[in-house]
Subunit: 298 residues, 2 copies
């Protein structure tokens, strides 16, 4: 039976320690106030939920969170001007552009306008390059990969010398995560949509650490995992469930029932990786605010 990695409680602890650090910094440095600005364009209900969650979490730890909301038909130049204004504003430490943006906007162009020192999502090309380069240390590790590394470290999982399989190669999760695990010494194989079923099974069955971030229910089942594997489930999927008021229930990529008995450690969904991502946004804002404080005092 696997030990469940309790992301909810681990993230709560971390949140408390962030709140504590901010409180102490505020006491020592009058005027110190970490500040996160979120840009939301349009009214997607899912985006609004995420934005609210981030703002609420910010407040709870003593970060001043604010939302700049723009109409869905905002002109691209106007939006860029807003980003550049925030880049210049020394009181803003983190700029987060809630994705996806409406189709008429060039998403990579706009996200790349965020100045590196405030790119607490770690999505800009300059930051990603430093994730990927062997010799570089990124200023900000993207939040979901950062949360996963935190969980592995918290559970004292050795990465170096291990077979690591990352399922999924997105620019936000799978791509940077696989590189970060390689930098930590893992021998990493990336499974993706062009991998065959035989390849998926072969590599998963030999993985000491198996991370699934593809967004597909039951992508990982107990029969394809190695005895004693560490299993991290990044999936956020919804399946119909008549017993729930909403008529659906959230689940990950991993079939928990068949996988848990063979794994040594496993993250549940919900309550595993999810809560870590939000708290890493806060951690990155605090890092940025501290760097800004250091540069003022030096």
């Amino acid at each position: 039976m696997a030990v469940k990695i309790d992301g909810k409680s681990i993230s709560s602890e971390l949140r408390l320690s962030i709140a504590d650090e901010i409180k102490q910094l505020k006491q020592k440095n009058p005027g110190f106030e970490p500040r996160l600005t979120i840009i939301q364009v349009g009214d997607r209900p899912d985006s609004s939920v995420y934005v609210r969650m981030k703002l609420k979490s910010s407040e709870e730890v003593g970060i001043r969170g604010e939302l700049l909301k723009f109409p869905a038909d905002i002109n691209q130049e106007e939006l860029i001007t807003e980003v550049e204004r925030l880049n210049q504003d020394p009181s803003v430490h983190g700029i987060l552009i809630q994705l996806p943006l409406p189709e008429h906007l060039d998403e990579p162009l706009i996200t790349n306008k965020v100045i590196q020192s405030k790119d607490i999502d770690g999505f800009t090309n300059l930051n990603l390059a430093s994730v990927f380069k062997k010799s570089d240390k990124p200023l900000y590790v993207p939040c979901t990969p950062k949360g996963i590394l935190y969980l592995l470290d918290h559970e004292k999982v050795e990465i170096s010398g291990k077979n690591v399989v990352v399922c999924g190669r997105s620019d936000i999760v799978g791509g940077p995560l696989s590189k970060l695990l390689e930098k930590r010494g893992g021998t990493v194989t990336v499974i993706h949509s062009r991998s065959t079923q035989a390849q998926k099974e072969f590599f998963c069955k030999n993985a000491d650490i198996l991370i699934s971030a593809v967004g597909q229910v039951n992508f990982i089942t107990g029969d394809i995992i190695k005895e004693g594997a560490v299993v991290i489930d990044v999936g956020t999927n919804y399946v119909p469930d008549a017993t729930k008021k909403s008529g659906q229930r959230m689940c990950g990529d991993v079939d928990y029932a068949s996988t848990e008995p063979k794994a040594s450690l496993i993250t549940p969904v919900p309550g595993g990786v999810g809560p870590m991502t939000v708290v890493m946004v806060l951690a990155n804002v605090l890092e940025s605010a501290k760097a800004s404080l250091d540069s003022q005092s030096s």
Copy 2:
């Protein structure tokens, strides 16, 4: 017995076709002259050999090659000013900073000053980010990875759905190459200095395509490769050889004698990947010159 991939002859053919294309473009567009500027700082003999080779190859295909040579003790600001001048000069299509730079110079800082449209080495962070991002197409693929992809395509090697192992994770070869092969559909595992011997053997024995870029003699031997594998040797090593005038002989990472009988395709060293790298510098300069021509005529 493996078929030898003859990089020398494949690169010669490509060189001829580049020369031919440049000739035709010059005929159609009076004044068209692709131009490569190489910056060399100091006098390292190995660097001088590479620089001469690139200049000679440029001339042969109709690219105007020029060398800007600076003393080893050049001031960093001066060097950056030179790079910026070349960035602004519309007659220069490719800027190549010969590495390594002397220790007092910040190599990443300086190489990143090259404007993306002239970064024909593909080493700048902005270009590397586009190599790594799933959704992006790089403006210039770094020359050694580009040469390897060309060889694989020339030999009609299917990459999608195959097990690919890349040994080595440098920012110049292994890192970008593994990502480019993944983008082409390969299921890629990167073997590196922190991989154990058991991991190396396990993954190599299952590799349909095995690429070694670690710089270690006999890193790959026949006993750890799969029957029918495609073997690409990127190593450039020197071993003592009394029968040679220089007292040494060049060899790759792969023990050719034991590997060749089991492989389906294999690159020799010398005469495999090496000659491809130089011709890809020329290909990238031509691409840049054509882009510049297009932008003038549009």
